[in-house]
């Protein structure tokens, strides 16, 4: 059987929603969210400068670009970009997951009868947790927004002050635990996702480059995970007071 003789327009149309294009969309939206995370982490570390600095930072975020932008304008632009990014990211993930399932009779990496090498030859833990880790992160973000942004759920007590909301929440042991689990899922997600995003966009051009990109992804994943986990643990153990 011959492959169909596609016209130039036909193959372009197919390529526009190909697996490669979907992976590129996932890569770009993932990188946008990663940049946001770095800025977010910087804000969190303001905790160590005390209540005035932390609450001041939260307030100043809303006055960025004033009077050119309305109050909270810049923040809403960022929120809309993030919402679009996460929508495209999840849409691409589900579409690609369905194609992968169809290609492997629905069983992925465990489609062989032999159970002797169930983890393959060199797959990393991070690569196994990518899909479920993504689900954990998505659920966590919903809870996180209800907790610290809208103050709808407030274990440890509600407050007008973002700083006090932080202190109240992370005085509760299970808040620290659930936050740690979510952040570890995020760390693994960035570890494999960042490397994969860079490779999907064409950055992996040699064996040495592959090693460098992986080192960069691991480093950034560790820095972000540690950076986000430091304030909650400091609060829980009462440092600095």
């Amino acid at each position: 059987m011959q492959p169909p003789n596609r016209t130039s327009a036909g193959r372009t149309a197919i390529a526009l929603h190909s697996t490669v294009t979907l992976k590129a969309a996932m890569a770009v939206t993932g990188l946008i969210m990663l940049l946001y995370l770095i800025a977010h982490m910087y804000g969190n570390l303001k905790y160590f400068s005390g209540r005035a600095a932390f609450d001041g930072y939260a307030h100043h975020l809303r006055t960025i670009g004033e009077p050119f932008l309305p109050y909270s304008g810049a923040l809403w632009v960022i929120r809309i970009v993030l919402l679009l990014s996460v929508t495209v990211h999840i849409y691409a993930a589900i579409t690609l997951w369905r194609r992968a399932r169809a290609a492997t009779s629905g069983r992925g990496g465990s489609r062989y009868q032999s159970r002797k090498n169930p983890r393959g030859v060199q797959r990393t833990y991070a690569s196994f947790t990518l899909r479920w880790g993504g689900v954990v992160i998505a659920l966590f973000i919903v809870y996180h927004l209800l907790n610290l942004t809208s103050d709808t759920i407030h274990p440890g007590g509600a407050s007008e002050s973002p700083y006090l909301r932080l202190i109240n929440s992370f005085g509760v042991w299970w808040m620290v635990l659930s936050y740690t689990i979510a952040l570890l899922a995020l760390g693994f997600h960035i570890r494999h996702g960042l490397w994969s995003a860079l490779a999907d966009l064409g950055a992996n051009t040699s064996v040495a480059r592959r090693r460098h990109l992986n080192i960069a992804a691991t480093t950034i994943a560790i820095v972000i995970t540690a950076g986000f986990l430091t304030p909650p643990f400091a609060i829980f153990f009462g440092w600095p007071r």
């Binding site: 011959q2 372009t12 390529a15």
Partner: protein, 249 residues
């Protein structure tokens, strides 16, 4: 050596298959894995049983015909080794060894361990070529190619098209196979005129055949008998994305 083989038996593409256990006695550690199947088939034939169907041709590791998943690993436990070059000294006396065909939706089973890999041929037919005038061979030094560039192109050109990359990929992706051809032709001057159309045609056919997407895990490179590296996939991604940028409609 005495070993036990658990082999996937399936009468044809429509039949339901199952693992069947066979004891194979008195084999030499210097036999290749395919020779053990030959010995087993000899016994099966003498007992008027149906011999096990499996693909093989050159038995020198260069044709890409042999295609066995051994203990869950495409081409078995040795790195950079095709099944025909795998010898029984890689196993221990008394081992039980599981033998299965390549599994992916675009690789339907024909019989036992033989699968139809025409889907890979169609990806090549779609764009894995250069158009050149026929006639006498041109003078070899007309087009100069820097040595590192031709070496990199050759590193990709060594793909024997066995399909182990697809068999090993948790997503059933053929990106390593297709990427090897993209990298091979895209790095040479002769491959430039059709570089954009090649990338678009090959990804269109790759997806139409039902192969999955690459997640940059590298299981494919771990089983590749020719040690093709993961950067060929990144080159494929790059060429598809740049072809889409260059598009005129």
């Amino acid at each position: 050596m005495n070993i036990t083989l658990r082999v996937w038996r399936q009468a044809d593409g429509h039949a339901k298959g199952r693992m069947v256990t066979y004891d194979v006695r008195d084999i030499s550690p210097n036999m290749s894995f395919l020779e053990v199947l030959d010995v087993l088939n000899e016994t099966l034939t003498q007992n008027h049983d149906d011999p096990i169907a499996f693909d093989h041709d050159c038995r020198e590791g260069i044709c890409g015909s042999c295609s066995l998943v051994i203990n869950g690993i495409a081409h078995g436990p040795e790195a950079a080794t095709a099944t025909c070059q795998l010898h029984m000294r890689s196993f221990r006396d008394g081992d039980q060894i599981d033998v299965e065909p390549w599994r992916a939706q675009p690789f339907p089973v024909i019989k036992d361990l033989v699968v139809d890999r025409s889907s890979l041929d169609r990806i090549i037919q779609a764009g894995g070529f250069i158009s050149a005038p026929t006639g006498s061979a041109p003078e070899a030094n007309t087009i100069l190619i820097p040595s590192p560039q031709s070496e990199q192109a050759l590193d990709a050109a060594v793909c024997i098209g066995c399909g182990a990359c697809v068999a090993a990929c948790p997503n059933g992706s053929a990106m390593l196979f297709a990427g090897a051809k993209i990298a091979h032709l895209g790095m040479l001057p002769q491959g430039q005129p059709e570089r954009d159309s090649r990338a678009l045609s090959m990804i269109a056919q790759h997806d139409a055949e039902g192969f999955g997407a690459c997640t940059q895990i590298g299981e494919c490179t771990a089983v590749c008998p020719q040690s093709i590296q993961l950067d060929v996939i990144s080159r494929f991604d790059h060429d598809v994305l740049s072809a889409l940028r260059h598009r005129t409609h």
